[in-house]
């Protein structure tokens, strides 16, 4: 298993987001390279979720463009999608499927990392829960399962919206660990969180939307 990603660049050029009549942000530019992280901060309602959804390509920016390896992500949609993994406010897991089935499906929609499903569950400390139907998991267990998707697929760019929601302290340190390995492997990260994210890397761009 070779986890070192090929170098890539994400570049936001003067993007803006307008909700109703309010400009949440504009002229926002940044560049993200292998091993780097963007930490989006800001008060409640400052536009963090909106920004991340734009970065994913779910929403289009009201102004400006986003480039992946030099090409507009809306033109190159397919190539970009293969390179990104998104965990939003919603977990994106099917409540009627077991933990394992959920991950099998997630893997087949992306690029498999080669990690076994059971190992990924183990890593998230959901060991005995392979066959448990997801509806019977607690809030935090569901969140862990959603984050386990990051392990079974191999995407250089992770986009995470408040990944620590519902996680206990132990769960949080698990995820921080995972993120640090990802960055060390040459991965990229865009993340929001109201709680400090323990990142080893010094290569962090902080974007504060409240200023």
């Amino acid at each position: 298993m070779n986890h070192t990603y090929t170098a890539a660049t994400l570049e936001a050029r003067d993007i803006a987001c307008i909700r109703d009549d309010r400009t949440l942000f504009d002229k926002l530019s940044f560049t993200l390279e292998a091993g780097q992280a963007v930490l989006v901060e800001g008060r409640n309602g400052s536009g963090k979720t909106s920004l991340l959804r734009i970065l994913c390509g779910i929403r289009q920016p009201d102004e400006g463009t986003i480039h992946w390896n030099g090409g507009d992500i809306y033109r190159l949609a397919t190539g970009y999608n293969a390179a990104t993994a998104w965990v939003g406010h919603k977990d994106g897991i099917k409540l009627e499927l077991s933990a394992e089935e959920n991950l099998v499906f997630a893997r087949s929609l992306g690029t498999p990392s080669g990690l076994e499903i059971s190992d990924a569950l183990e890593a998230m400390e959901l060991g005995g829960f392979d066959d448990v139907i997801a509806i019977n998991l607690s809030a935090g267990q569901k969140r862990r399962l959603a984050l386990a998707r990051l392990l079974v697929t191999r995407s250089p760019l992770w986009i995470l919206d408040e990944p620590f929601t519902s996680l206990d302290t132990h769960g949080i340190s698990l995820i921080e660990n995972m993120i640090n390995i990802h960055l060390a492997d040459g991965g990229m990260l865009a993340v929001t969180s109201h709680h400090p994210v323990g990142l080893d890397s010094a290569d962090i761009t902080r974007i504060n939307l409240s200023e």
């Binding site: 929403r59 099917k94 929609l109």
Partner: protein, 227 residues
């Protein structure tokens, strides 16, 4: 491990949706029961006269099929939207329109096909002739996939709205009218011993049209309503 090829992804999504339907169980049984119930409701409303029932039978069965399709439409995307799976599908590297075909196919297998199976029973309840029953089956086979395909566009357009049930019906029902007209008159014709080929070819043409246009339209609608 290699990434899934497109046919593999298609198959996996199809299997997932069928598994989900099977797990929920009621999703398979319910449109079916609903179909039977609605059909049974008409004699209660209009009276039990066999001649009358035979006259309006094809219309009733088709209206019921249409409503059953309509009611089950929400299941195509609703739960995927609510739990966030739809965002994940949208961001998958596979072409969205192909994935849409898998979802619509699953929907038809779960809600359309069973109607074909109980239709003979309903024909008996409404005293249709054997010929009419035969034509009914053909029209259902050609028409119900169109209902699923066209309906999917409607669901894709409305999935992000937090509005109660009926807006979808309003969007989709007018689109269902041609299917209803051709199918019901085919059955009525065959009950009266008239030729039905023209009607059936038109239905087939609708099916071809829907199959070629709907997946792309559904995919585009989804992208819009998710943004």
């Amino acid at each position: 491990m290699k990434p899934a090829t497109l046919p593999q992804a298609f198959a996996i999504l199809l299997r997932r949706d069928l598994t989900l339907a099977y797990r929920r169980r009621s999703e398979i049984i319910n449109p079916l029961l609903f179909f039977v119930l609605v059909t049974a409701m008409f004699p209660l409303g209009v009276g039990a006269d066999p001649a009358l029932l035979r006259d309006i039978g094809p219309g009733i069965i088709w209206v019921a099929a249409l409503l059953a399709a309509l009611l089950s439409l929400e299941t195509v995307f609703r739960s995927d939207f609510d739990d966030g799976s739809l965002e994940q599908l949208l961001l998958s590297p596979h072409p969205l329109s192909v994935l849409m075909i898998a979802k619509v196919l699953a929907h038809w297998l779960v809600t359309g096909l069973p109607l074909l199976i109980v239709a003979p029973l309903l024909s008996i309840l409404l005293h249709l002739s054997d010929d009419a029953m035969h034509t009914l089956l053909i029209t259902l086979a050609l028409g119900t996939p169109v209902l699923s395909l066209v309906g999917a566009i409607g669901v894709a357009l409305t999935v992000g709205l937090r509005k109660g049930g009926t807006i979808l019906s309003i969007l989709v029902m007018p689109l269902y009218v041609p299917v209803l007209i051709f199918a019901a008159s085919a059955v009525a014709n065959s009950d009266a011993g008239l030729p039905v080929n023209a009607h059936l070819s038109l239905l087939a043409a609708l099916l071809v049209l829907a199959t070629s246009l709907s997946p792309a339209a559904t995919a585009a609608s989804l992208r819009i309503s998710m943004s």
